[in-house]
C-alpha cells in the first residue's frame, strides 16, 4: 500500500508538478473553446448553405462531411503537422489541433443541423414565404430556430466526444494536460502526474457530461 501511495499519490511530486498540470488545463480549455466555437458555427454555416440546394455546392459539402466523418482525427493531425511543412506551410501544433478538430466537429454538426432542418415541415417554409419573408429570412427566423432546438442533445454529445480529442495534442507537442502529465511522469519517474492529469480531465468534463445528460431529457428529440 505504501508503495502504491508513493507511486500514484506522491506529495513531493504533486507539489512540484501541479502547476504544470494546471497550466495544461488552461491550454486544454483554450483549444476546446476555440474548437467548439469554430466547429459549431462552421457546421451551422454549412447546413445553411446546403439548404439553398445548389447542386454542385451540396456535392462538395457532402463530400467534405463524409471525409471528415470517416477519417480518424489522429491521421489528419499527423498529415497536417508532419506533412504541410514539406510543402512550405508550417503550422504550430496548437493551430493544427484546432483546425483538424474544428473541421471534424463542423462535419458532424452539419449533419446534425441538416437533419434538424429536414425535420421541419414544408408548411413552415410555405407559410413563412407567404407572409413576405424572403428565403434567407425564412431560414434565419423561422426554420433554424426550430431546427436548432431539436439538435441540442445529439449535438452536445458529439461536441463532448470531439472536444475530448484535444488530448491528441500530446502527440504533436501541444502543452495540454496529457502532454504536461507525460512530461512530468518521465522527469519524476513517478506515476502521480498521470493520475493528476486524469483527475484534471474528470474535473473538466464531468460537469459537461452531466449537463449533456440533463439536456438529453430536457430537449428530447421530437418534443419540440
Amino acid at each position: 500500500m505504501d508503495r502504491f501511495v508513493d507511486a500514484f499519490l506522491n506529495q513531493r511530486v504533486i507539489d512540484k508538478y501541479l502547476p504544470d498540470i494546471l497550466w495544461g488545463m488552461v491550454v486544454t480549455i483554450e483549444v476546446a473553446a476555440a474548437v467548439v466555437v469554430t466547429g459549431i458555427l462552421g457546421g451551422l454555416l454549412l447546413a445553411a448553405l446546403r439548404s439553398f440546394r445548389i447542386r454542385a455546392l451540396n456535392v462538395l459539402i457532402v463530400l467534405m462531411v463524409d471525409v471528415f466523418r470517416s477519417l480518424p482525427p489522429l491521421v489528419m493531425i499527423l498529415i497536417a503537422y508532419f506533412g504541410l511543412p514539406n510543402v512550405g506551410l508550417s503550422l504550430s501544433g496548437f493551430t493544427v489541433l484546432w483546425l483538424v478538430l474544428s473541421l471534424v466537429l463542423a462535419a458532424f454538426a452539419e449533419e446534425i443541423f441538416w437533419s434538424g432542418i429536414l425535420s421541419i415541415r414544408k408548411g413552415q417554409w410555405e407559410a413563412a414565404r407567404s407572409t413576405g419573408l424572403n428565403f434567407v429570412q425564412t431560414l434565419a427566423w423561422v426554420i433554424l430556430p426550430q431546427a436548432i432546438r431539436m439538435t441540442v442533445p445529439p449535438l452536445t454529445n458529439r461536441t463532448i466526444a470531439i472536444t475530448k480529442n484535444t488530448a491528441l495534442g500530446a502527440v504533436i507537442g501541444v502543452p495540454e494536460i496529457l502532454m504536461q502529465a507525460q512530461t512530468a511522469q518521465s522527469f519524476s519517474g513517478n506515476a502521480t502526474p498521470l493520475l493528476l492529469g486524469s483527475i484534471a480531465y474528470i474535473l473538466l468534463f464531468i460537469p459537461v457530461v452531466a449537463v449533456g445528460r440533463w439536456l438529453e431529457t430536457r430537449f428530447a428529440w421530437g418534443r419540440a
Binding site: 477519417l71 480518424p72 491521421v75 449533419e111 498521470l194 459537461v208
Partner: protein, 221 residues
C-alpha cells in the same frame, strides 16, 4: 502543385510502403475484431446493471459510465500503459489497448443500449411474461432484439467511432495501420504513406458513414 503531388501523393513511396501498410491494416482489423465485440458485450452488461432493482448496484454503474465518458480514451490508454507498471502490472500494448477500449466503449455502447431498452413499452414485457416466458427469456428474445433494432443507427455510428479510435493504439507503439504509416513516413521523410493510410481508412469507413447519413436523415424526416 508538383511539390504537393511529390509530397502527398507520391505513388512510388506509397508502393514501397504498401507491404508495411497492409501488415498494419491486418493488425487494425484484428484489433477491431477484439475490441468491438468486447465493447458490445460490455455495453450490454452495463445497460443491464443500470436497470438493476437495487440502488447500490445502479448508482456505481452510472458514476462509472460518466467517469469513462469524461476521460479521453488516449488518457486512459496512457494511464494503463505507462502508469500501471508503477503498481507492478505490466500490460503489453495489445492488452493495454483492449482494457482501455473495453472501459471506454462499454460506457458509450451501454448508454445506447439503455436508450434502446427504455424505448420498449411496458406492454411488451407484460405480454411476453404472460405467454409464460421468464424474465431472462423476455429480455433475450423479446426486449433486446427490438431495442437493438430501434438504436441500430447509433450502434453502427459508435462502431465507426471505435474503428477510428483504434488509431490511437499507435501512440503506445502497437504496429497497427497508423503506426506503420508513420514509421514509413519517418523512414522516407515523405508524408505520402499517411495519406495512403487515410485512403485505406476512408475505403473501410466511407460506406458505413454514407449508410448512416441516409438512416439519420430518414429518421429526421
Amino acid at each position: 502543385m508538383e511539390l504537393f503531388v511529390d509530397q502527398f501523393l507520391n505513388f512510388e513511396i506509397m508502393h514501397q510502403a504498401l507491404p508495411l501498410l497492409l501488415r498494419g491494416l491486418g493488425m487494425t482489423l484484428q484489433l477491431c475484431l477484439v475490441v468491438v465485440p468486447l465493447g458490445l458485450a460490455g455495453g450490454l452488461a452495463v445497460a443491464l446493471i443500470c436497470r438493476s432493482r437495487w440502488r447500490a448496484v445502479r448508482w456505481p454503474a452510472f458514476v462509472l459510465i460518466d467517469f469513462f465518458r469524461a476521460v479521453p480514451p488516449l488518457v486512459l490508454l496512457i494511464f494503463i500503459y505507462a502508469g500501471l507498471p508503477f503498481a507492478g502490472i505490466r500490460p503489453s500494448p495489445f492488452v493495454a489497448v483492449c482494457v482501455a477500449f473495453l472501459l471506454n466503449t462499454s460506457a458509450y455502447y451501454g448508454e445506447i443500449y439503455r436508450a434502446g431498452i427504455a424505448s420498449i413499452g411496458r406492454g411488451q414485457w407484460e405480454a411476453a411474461r404472460s405467454t409464460g416466458l421468464n424474465s431472462f427469456q423476455t429480455l433475450a428474445w423479446v426486449v433486446i432484439p427490438q431495442a437493438v433494432r430501434n438504436v441500430l443507427p447509433d450502434l453502427i455510428s459508435n462502431t465507426v467511432e471505435v474503428v477510428k479510435l483504434t488509431s490511437i493504439a499507435s501512440v503506445v507503439a502497437m504496429p497497427e495501420l497508423l503506426y506503420s504509416a508513420d514509421m514509413a513516413r519517418s523512414l522516407t521523410y515523405n508524408p505520402s504513406p499517411i495519406v495512403a493510410a487515410a485512403a485505406i481508412y476512408l475505403a473501410l469507413l466511407w460506406p458505413c458513414v454514407r449508410l448512416l447519413s441516409r438512416m439519420e436523415h430518414r429518421v429526421g424526416r
